[in-house]
Each structure stands twice: as C-alpha cells, then as structure tokens.
C-alpha cells in the first residue's frame, strides 16, 4: 500500500473553478455597478450646473428674446465652464441646433444632425456619449411651448473611464488574493468531504493486497461478505477462476 495520496484532482479543480467563477462575477458586477453609480453622480452634478446656467437663458427664451442677445452670455458660459474640471466646453444652440455662442476648448464637432433632430422632437434634456466623451443637452422653451434653443455641455469621459479601470484593477488584484485563499480552503473542504469515499477505495487496495497474499501463500479462504475481507475473497475466487480458465484453454 502506497502513501495516502489524494487522487480526486478533478473534484478539487472544480471546487476551485466554482470559487473563481463567483469572484469573476463579483468583480464584473461590482465594476458595472460602480460605473453606474459614478456616472449617475456625475450627471446629477452636471445637471445642476446646466440648470444654473440655463436659468437666465431660459427666462430670456420665455419672453421671446433671441438667445444671442442675452447680455454677458460669454461670461456666464465661461464661468460655468470653470466651475467644473470635467467640462470641456459649453455651447448655446438655436432652435435648429446651430451654434450661437460657445466657449473655447471644444473637442467634438458640435454641429450634428442628431442635435437638431433631438430639438425638433421636443426633448427637454438628453445625454449621449460620443467617442468616450459625453454631451448633455438642455432645451429652453418659449411660452408657446416651442423649443427656442438649447444649452449643450460637453464633458470629458476620461476621468470616468480612468476611475472605472482603476476600480477594476483594484478589485481584480484583491480577487486574485482571495482566489488563492479560497482555493486552499475549498481544496481542504473537498478533501474532508470525500475522505470517506477515499477510505472505500483504500479498502479495495487492501483487499487486493490480501488476495494476492493468499495467492502466493496458497491459503484457502472461506467466502465472506462485506468489508475488505469480502472483496478480498471475491478477488481470490476470481483469480482462481481466471487461472482455471487460462489453464483450461492451453
């Protein structure tokens, strides 16, 4: 009988694989949720800024003034741009989506057909993503209910992307560590759960040894049932049957 080696390798591997699967799902869902929470917070913040800036513009639109005639519009826009690092540029658009006034620093092509379409549909606000950067559109309405124009905030998605990747990296590193710990624990668990089964297998080996021992000693043994002695007697008889069959054919 050799040393007691634990041979149920596949079982341990599958237990480890289950742990890894749980951790992967964990990291994936956490990062996804983090992205949602962060984006939500950022958009709430930008909405507040947009509301602030659009207040004077909105009241001007309400009484039917042209947006470009609003006094110190440039200063209002510039001030809003500096209120937040994430904002790259602000634009004031007329009802067709054409730019009336804008601050410097724009990285996207501001005039797009979709914007005009969004305004024509009468959307009061919209957020969409373009090449990793975001746009927030807030429309002003005239007293008649028609769209008079819109404020568009362009803001960088770079911080958001960095934050999400940083989170993913951080969690993945931790997960790797946990993976090692939980693999060790689950390997130990599988061993302890299947120890009983291993003893059954060991019984076969013991019986095998006993049967061959009987054979080389030339013992005659009585038929027994149950336990390793039962197996040993079965092996012994099978061996004798085999020898008979072999010698009978020769």
């Amino acid at each position: 009988m050799g040393p007691k080696i634990f041979t149920y390798r596949e079982l341990i591997l599958s237990a480890v694989a289950i742990n890894v699967a749980v951790l992967v799902v964990f990291v994936f869902l956490s990062v996804l949720q983090f992205d949602q929470v962060r984006t939500g917070l950022e958009q709430e913040r930008l909405k507040v800024i947009a509301d602030r800036v659009s207040e004077p513009l909105g009241s001007a639109a309400m009484i039917g003034l042209e947006l470009s005639t609003v006094r110190n519009l440039d200063a209002v826009l510039e001030r809003a741009r500096q209120a937040d690092d994430a904002i790259t540029a602000l634009h004031v658009l007329d009802r067709n989506g054409a730019i009336v006034r804008s601050t410097s620093g724009s990285v996207l092509d501001a005039e797009r057909a979709e914007i005009g379409q969004l305004l024509a549909e009468g959307a009061s606000s919209a957020i969409y993503k373009e090449r990793g950067d975001y746009r927030y559109l807030a429309a002003f309405k005239q007293s008649s209910g028609d769209v008079a124009g819109a404020l568009m905030i362009e803001y960088s998605g770079a911080t958001a992307t960095t934050a999400v990747w940083a989170m993913a990296g951080r969690l993945a590193t931790w997960a790797l560590g946990f993976c090692v710990i939980s693999s060790v624990i689950s390997a130990w668990m599988v061993r302890s759960v299947f120890k009983h089964e291993l003893r059954f297998d060991q019984e076969f080996l013991t019986a095998d040894f006993e049967a061959s021992q009987h054979l080389w000693r030339g013992d005659t043994i009585n038929r027994k049932d149950g336990g390793h002695e039962g197996i040993a007697s079965a092996m012994h008889e099978a061996e004798l049957q085999y020898l008979n069959a072999r010698d009978g054919t020769r």
Binding site: T7, Y8, E10, L11, S14, A15, I18, N19, A21, V22, V25, F26, L29, S30, Q33, F34, V37, R38, L41, E42, E44, R45, K47, V48, I49, D84, D85, A163, A166, M167, R170, W174, F178, S182, I185, S186, M189, V190, S192, F194, H196, E197, D201, Q202, F204, D208, D225, G226, G230, I231, A234, M235, E237, A238, Q241, Y242, A245, R246, T249, R250
Partner: protein, 636 residues
C-alpha cells in the same frame, strides 16, 4: 457484495452543498468589505466635487442677496431655497449657516435623519466650510456635512445581485461536483465491483472503462487484462470482450439541471418581453403576454405522451439528443425575433423539446435506479430540475437587465449545448439505451376514479397556479409597478428555492410524524390556497405569496407523485396521461380565467379565483378520499 456507492450519495450531496455554501459565503462576505472600502475611496473625489459645487452655489446665492444691501439676519425664506437646492444632493446630511456672531441662521437636515441604513462599515462623514463675503468682510460661514451612506445603499443592490448569483453558482457547483464524483469515484467502483462479481462466477467476457486516475485504475486494468488475455487465447471461437457499463441514476442530474437552466433563463421576463413585442393591433396586451406560456404548455402537454413512445423506441440518451436541436432552434428564434409570433413559436418548440428531454432524464434515472424507490429517484430529479430553474431565472434576470433579453436567451442556448455534452456522458450505459426486454413486471392494480380525482383536484390546480402566478402574473404585475428584471428574478426564484429547501424537509417530517400521503398532499394544497387567497383578499406582498405558494407546492409535490404512481398501478401510459392532463388543465384554467376577468382588471381577482380553485380541490379530494378509504377499510 453490497452496492457501496449508493447509500453515501445523499448525505454526500448535503455535505458538498454545505461545504460549498460555507466557502462561498466566506469569500463573498470578506470580499464585500473590500469592495465597499474600494467604493468609498473611489467615489470620494466625486462626492467632494459635488459638495464644492453645492457650497459655491449656496454662497453665490447668499452673496447676491447681500450685495443688494440686505443684512444677513434679515434674509427670509432663504431656508426654503436652500432646501430645494440641497434636495438634489442626497449625500449631504446637514447644511448650517453660522453668522459672524456665532448665531446659527440656518440649520437644515437633509433626507431621513434617523432612518435608513446604519453606516456599519465606518465610511467617514466629512465637513466643509465656505465663507460668505459681503463687501470684503466675512459675514457668515456655510458648513456642509456629507455622508456617503446614501451612496452605499446603491452598492447594496450589487451585493444582493452577487449573492443571488452565487446561490445559482453553488447549485451548479454541487451538480458538477456530484457528476464528477459519480464519474471518478462511484461509477469506477461499481464497475470494478460488478466485473469482479462476474469474474468470480467464471465469466470473463466483459471489460470496463479504466478510470484516468485514482486508486481503482490498476485494479481495473488487471481485471480487464484477464478478459483480454482469455479472449486472445480463445480467439477461434469468441469475439472481443463486450463492454460492461454501469448506469447510475445520479448521473442524470447534471443534464437535467443544465436543461432546466438553459430553457428557463426567460423565467423573469418572458411575459413582459412578449407584451412589448410587435404584434397584430387587434391582439390585447394581456393575451400577447400570456400567449408564449399557453403555447408552451400546449406543446408540453401534446409531446408528453409522444415522448414516452420515442424513449421506448430509441432510448433515453438518443431521445435527449433529438430534443437538443429543437430547443436550440426555439431559443435562437426567440432571441432574434422582435415579433410576438416568433417569440411564441420559439417558446412552443422549446416546450416540446424540453418535455422530451426532461422525460428522457426521468426515464433514465428511473431505469438506472431499478432497485431504489421510484419516489426517491423522482425527488432527486426534482431537486436538480428546480435547482436548474432557479439558477436559470436568476442568471437570466441579471443578464437581461445588464445586457439584454436576447443575450440571456442565447446564454440559455449555450447552456443547452453544455447539456448535450453532459448527456453524452451522463445518460450513457444500459439505462440510456433501448430496452429490448418486455417488462411486464411492476404493473399493479389501478384505481381510475382515485387517479382522476387526484389529477383533477390536486394536480391541475397546482400546475395552473404555478403557470398563472409564477410564470405570468408575478412578472407582469411587478414590471408594471416598475421593478427591474433582476428584482423580479429574485422574487420568482423564491418559489423554486422553497421547492428545493422544503421538499426534502417535508418528506422527512411527514415520514417522522407518520402522515399518510393523502393528508400531506391536502395540507400542501391548503397552504398553497392560503397563499393565493391571501393575495386575493388580504393583498399579501408578492414575496410572501410566491414563497408560501412554493412552500405549499413543495409539500404537495412528492406525495402527489406517489399517489399518482400508486393509483395508476405504475403503468407508464397513465403517467404520461397524468402529465398531459396536468398541463391541459393548466391551459384550461389559464384561458378560463382570462375570459372570465375583464382586461386590465385587478390581479387580486385572479389570485382569489385560483385560491378558491385550489381550496375546493383540496377539500373535495380530502372528503372523497377519506370516505373511500373508510368504505374500503370497514369490511376488513
């Protein structure tokens, strides 16, 4: 020699489940704290920025007022404006404006101060002050204190999702480990034992598969070699030794589990998806939502008797293989089509294929476990089945929410392919092949009236309640109330969870107390009726309705099956008839309820009528069966 593998399997399943649950619970608990810490750290800059924004906004407002020459303590109505502004910032707990003379001008608590979640993990609250200037003089200070607790509650949602998915993975893991244990431990051991027994009798014409590793390998090789050697010596008269194969009922579990998982990823959103799909204008929304379910039931009902015929002709394994292509086709059709017709048609094919495959697994396990009790084998199959449905509904719900409906359905299709591989291994052996011998044994006396009574009073209300409440009504009403598919999936899951957890417990308890099957069945049916009536009349929450219904059905299911098997005298065609009648009854109940209730009526009406159906079924069954037993017992 005794069959050594079998008795330890049941306790082993429990131990594997416990061990896996423990390890994974430990991992999740400790990893959650790490995740929450990481969240707090990562979200802090964003929160600080928001606080800065709020501070400057409040200061600007205040300064503008002060510039007009109004003294700071005379600013009236400012608190309302502040409250309005702060309402957009749920993480700000408190706003305080203190004048130069330490007089508190404003002290505002934001949000629900006492209630909500306690901040257990110790994320710090922080404060920031902004000075208010009036003509180059500081006249007041704005103090803001923030609290990330509000943000942490959003994180808890993710943790809940993760724990539920972990539960699904644990169920999958238990099945995989059991299948591997069967493959690596029990089947080789049984094969060696069986072969040894043959050789002891002097039969050397069979060989077994040699396990790839493990301690039985050398033994198996030696036993095989005897047969091979003798075959070579006698090569004139005899052919090569035949293969000696073992079928273990346990190995049918993994295909069943994967099959249920793959077909039920839609559990939490199918009616919603069907209602939102394109359809003919004349069709009302409620009918559209119910159509895939009704067609599914119809296909299942029709194919149940056919399935048993196919299985006798080609054997369970081939029957399972035949069922895979239609299921995959159906799922793919469902995932690509945006029209109701496609979805309903796809679901119908899935229903037919699923029934064939499920009946194959059941037939395999019953054949393989010839000597064991049929009820126990069926219970083992049910655990695998409901575990699969649970895992499917949970995983499908999360994927549908994060990615989309079609991704969830396609994942199901991929799982069905895995089920095919599992069946290739798991449904092999003599029990998976065609059975040539005519087995006349086992057919006992039948009692048609009791059979009919059981099916009509217990089985039909049960399957009708499952189909209408769990598959249709709960997803529909919850989604109308604005819940997301992940939450619906969690609630739908409760039905199957109680089916898995309660069924073994109930079986054990009713054995221990000495309840007979009729009493246990009636009790289960009454519990289910209580759940339904509670929903109908007392507006019980959907969580409790689903859980209690699952509880009642879990108690009912095992004795119901035992009764049906007993009354039909183990005749296979009658059991197929039972499956057919059960589904047909569900369809009839479904349609009847739809025509009886006006569209968009209160669902409590449906709950109440289902409850009355279940209750009256249970009462009628209880009364008649008790009077029948008395009549039968009196002459003795």
């Amino acid at each position: 020699m005794r069959n050594r593998g079998a008795p330890s399997q049941k306790t082993l399943r429990l131990r594997v489940t416990l061990a896996l649950t423990l390890v994974i619970a430990f991992t999740i608990a400790s990893f959650s704290t790490v995740v929450i810490r990481a969240y707090d750290d990562a979200i802090e800059p964003e929160l600080r920025q928001r606080m800065d924004l709020l501070g400057t906004m409040l200061r600007d407002d205040l300064q503008r007022t002060l510039e007009l020459g109004i003294p700071i303590d005379a600013v009236a109505g400012f608190d309302e404006k502040v409250a309005e502004t702060v309402a957009d910032f749920p993480e700000i707990r408190r706003v305080k404006i203190v004048a130069n003379n330490r007089e508190v001008l404003l002290d505002l608590e934001n949000g629900d101060a006492g209630g909500g979640l306690q901040n257990v993990l110790g994320a710090q609250t922080w404060t920031n002050t902004f000075s208010v200037l009036a003509r180059s003089r500081i006249v007041a200070e704005i103090e803001l204190s923030g609290d990330p607790r509000q943000i942490e509650t959003r994180l808890l949602r993710a943790l809940l999702d993760i724990s539920v998915i972990a539960l699904a993975i644990i169920f999958l893991g238990v099945e995989v480990i059991l299948a591997l244990a069967a493959r690596n431990i029990w089947i080789p051991r049984l094969a060696v034992t069986g072969l040894l027994e043959e050789q002891r009798r002097g039969c050397f014409d069979k060989v077994i598969d040699v396990p790839s590793g493990g301690q039985m390998r050398r033994l198996a090789e030696r036993l095989n070699d005897r047969a091979l050697h003798l075959a070579r010596l006698n090569s004139r008269e005899k052919a090569d030794p035949r293969r000696f194969e073992i079928s273990l009922p346990l190995s049918g579990r993994l295909p069943m589990f994967l099959l249920a998982l793959g077909t039920e990823t839609t559990a939490s959103f199918l009616p919603v998806m069907a209602r939102n799909a394109e359809r003919m204008a004349a069709l009302p929304g409620a009918v559209a939502a119910a159509l895939p379910l009704i067609l599914y039931l119809l296909a299942a009902a029709v194919s149940a008797p056919l399935a048993s015929r196919v299985i006798t002709r080609v054997g369970p394994q081939k029957a399972f293989f035949c069922a895979v292509p239609p299921i995959i086709t159906g799922l793919v059709v469902m995932s690509v089509s945006s029209e109701l017709a496609g979805i309903a048609f796809g679901r119908m094919i899935v229903g037919a294929g699923y029934t064939l495959a499920a009946v194959s697994c059941s037939a395999y396990m019953l054949r393989a476990g010839e000597h064991g009790a049929a009820a126990e084998t069926q219970a083992s199959l049910n655990t695998a089945l409901y575990g699969g449905v649970l895992a499917g509904s949970v995983i499908g719900g999360v994927i549908a929410f994060e990615v989309g409906y079609s991704a969830a359905i396609l994942l199901g299709a991929a799982t069905i392919i895995c089920a095919w591989f599992a069946a290739r291994w798991g449904l092999s052996g003599p029990a998976g092949a065609v059975r040539h011998s005519n087995r006349a044994a086992g057919v006992e006396k039948q009692s048609p009236l009791s059979f009919f009574l059981t099916v009509a009073c217990l089985a039909v209300p049960m399957s009708a309640a499952t189909a209408i409440v769990v598959w249709y009504l709960v997803p529909m009403t919850l989604s109308q109330q604005g819940y997301e598919t992940t939450i619906i999936a969690r609630i739908v899951m409760l039905y199957y969870l109680s089916a898995i957890l309660i069924a073994p417990l109930a079986g054990y308890l009713s054995n221990a107390i000495g309840f007979n099957e009729r009493l246990a069945a009636v009790m289960g049916a009454i519990l289910a009726a209580v759940a339904l009536l509670g929903a109908g009349f007392a507006s019980l929450g959907p969580i409790f309705v689903v859980a209690l219904l699952g509880f009642g059905h879990a108690i009912l299911r095992a004795p119901l099956y035992a009764l049906v098997v007993f009354y039909c005298g183990r005749k296979a065609s009658w059991i197929a008839g039972y499956r057919f009648a059960e589904r047909l009854g569900a369809i009839v109940a479904f349609v009847a309820i739809f025509f009886a209730t006006p569209e968009n009526s209160d669902p409590s009406l449906i709950f109440a009528s289902l409850g009355i159906l279940s209750l009256s079924g249970a009462v009628i069954f209880g009364m008649i069966s008790s009077s029948r037993t008395k009549r039968r017992e009196t002459p003795v």
